[in-house]
């Protein structure tokens, strides 16, 4: 059935179609979307004011989106390995197989993010917040799918691959902040406030968290450092720096994965 699609018409497009159909119809994907929708809806329902609602959604997003982006991509890659080997025996370019896989996965994740996060926010009337949240959702999903795909391509062993992905998730959500906190405590005698925005902006999860907090009334609690980082993010240079870093998080893993995928001996 899928092979007939592949052998006729635009091969790349039909491969992409095949992947996206396969992902979106999978029970994991549906379960994830429904669960995300339910959680976000519940958070919004039990929040009394906008700030509280936005922070609640942000809390869920920084926990779930990197995790699902990383694990789902890896698991799907490993489960479809045989099919991929079979496809590669056909006259198709490896770059396009890789690209189709990445695009299908990213779009599927973004699709579920829109359904699970943006739609409940729209329904509950948080419209500007929903738009901002959607943009971050697109970016975070692009980043974590790229990273996960790179790890999966680089690691043949499924267990090692998933283990690496688990460590990466831990790194982005907890360990990076822990190290930074240790640095702040260790260098307490130095004027590190100016240097912190540059470092904290490296982690996309922190970027998302801080930019969300700065738009809520919690901004007032971030004190002097908050003011410094708000100034930093508010300037053209800051926006450029953050955009550049986030693009690197998408482009570098994507290209490393692609390079390995092209010369890989399946």
């Amino acid at each position: 059935m899928q092979l007939r699609n592949l052998s006729s018409g635009s091969k790349q497009l039909s491969l992409f179609e095949h992947y996206i159909n396969d992902i979106v119809r999978g029970k994991w994907f549906i379960a994830y979307t429904v669960l995300l929708f339910a959680l976000i809806y519940a958070v919004l329902m039990f929040s009394f004011e906008t700030s509280q609602a936005v922070v609640g959604v942000m809390n869920l997003v920084i926990f779930i989106v990197p995790a699902v982006g990383l694990f789902f991509t890896s698991m799907y890659y490993y489960s479809r390995r045989e099919f991929m080997e079979f496809i590669l025996s056909q006259p198709v370019s490896r770059t396009f197989v890789y690209f189709s896989f990445y695009m299908a996965m990213t779009l599927a994740m973004i699709f579920s993010f829109i359904l699970g996060v943006s739609v409940p926010m729209f329904i509950q009337g948080f419209i500007p917040e929903a738009i901002k949240m959607s943009l971050w959702g697109v970016l975070l999903n692009m980043i974590f799918v790229a990273i996960s795909l790179m790890v999966s391509v680089l690691t043949d062993d499924r267990v090692r691959g998933l283990g690496t992905v688990l460590l990466l998730w831990f790194f982005f959500t907890i360990f990076y902040d822990a190290v930074l906190t240790a640095v702040i405590i260790y260098f307490r005698d130095y004027p590190i406030e100016k240097f912190i925005p540059f470092v904290i902006a490296i982690n996309p999860v922190d970027d998302f968290r801080i930019s969300t907090l700065l738009s809520t009334n919690i901004a007032a609690m971030l004190g002097y450092s908050g003011a410094v980082i708000k100034h930093f993010f508010g300037r053209f240079f800051g926006v450029l720096y953050v955009t550049f870093l986030q693009s690197l998080w998408v482009i570098v893993p994507f290209l490393v994965g692609l390079w390995k995928f092209r010369k890989k001996d399946f």
């Binding site: 920084i62 926990f63 822990a178 906190t181 590190i192 904290i200 907090l213 007032a220 609690m221 908050g226």
Partner: protein, 402 residues
Amino acid sequence: MLTNILIAGTVVVCPDCDVRGLKQAVSIAQPYDTILIKEGHYKEDSIIVDKPGLVIMGEGEAVIDANQKWEAILVIADSVTVTGLTIMNVPVSYIHDHAALKFDGVSGCQIINNTFINNFFAIYLAHSEGCLVKDNYIKSNAKREMAAGNGIHAWYCHDLYITGNTVIQHRDGIYFEFVDNSFIEGNYSTKNLRYGLHFMFSDRDVYSHNTFVNNGAGTAVMYSRLISLYNNIFEKNWGGASYGILLKEIYDCKIYNNIFRENTVGLYMENCNRTPIEHNDFIGNGWALRVMANSQDNLVSMNNFIDNMFEVATNSRRSFNKFNKNYWSKYNGYDLDRDGIGDIPYRPVSLTSYLIENYEAISLMIESYFLKLLDLLEKIAPSINPVGLVDREPLMERVKHD
């Protein structure tokens, strides 16, 4: 002709009368006369009231408009009453403290039921005593702190009674410096650029039943002794340097039955000593209490701490204050003997609160999963909390204040 106007010691001012302005009326009035200002728009400034006992009374919409020229009324005689007037458009000055109504070196003045619109300073009391400021409505349109004056400003005064006034959008709503033995009661102060209430070097004053909402920096009380603050509401003073109330160099005061709601910092104490803080409600603040280590011998008891992001912050590992019998909504101990007091002591300064207070940049980690993990670890192993501040008898139920 003069005899016609001066019936029963009353001078009538109206746009069509012989006496067409307050300045003229004061010049012909005898001490203890009444000046009745009829409805009308009077463009006057630099009015000096120098006769004692005058009652200046506005009728209907009696408006004195300084027209951005100079200050409106300066009173230098005792026992003058100003009532029912509207005074507006006193200009901003960077050299002179222009006020709509200034009293200098007088006693026994009364300012009742006036309206002040768009003035630099509204009511200004200097070197005065025994004044009543009651039920005035004071509103300005200040945008910048540098170019704004205070709503009710008192300097070197004593025995004032300030009650029932509303102050909106001045620099400081109510400002006291060197004002002793005074009552501030039932005032409403909001949207002021800096403090809703600001007083310094003012001893033995009583502040009660006031409401301070949404002021730039909340309220500040400094260098004062023997103050009583009770039944006040401090609400929605939110911002990087906003405090429900900031206490600095305070001795032997009493703070009770107040409500601190949704402030960045509910109560900030720096060198605040021997002050009992009892029966207050701290609800939904960023920090309910911030106690600096130079505050000593205060008693924090019978307060409700509900849904604050951080309950207490302190920059010291030791505690020099007594915390006892408060209700903490984050407390999750048990009460086996059913006496209403939790069996496990409660440490209101969480590890994260301690870290943020001492290493300011860690505040950037607020709402991160790392700090959540630290909170969780602290619940499992409370010994990692370095701070000695403990409530040994935390209450199980919210305190019902009388």
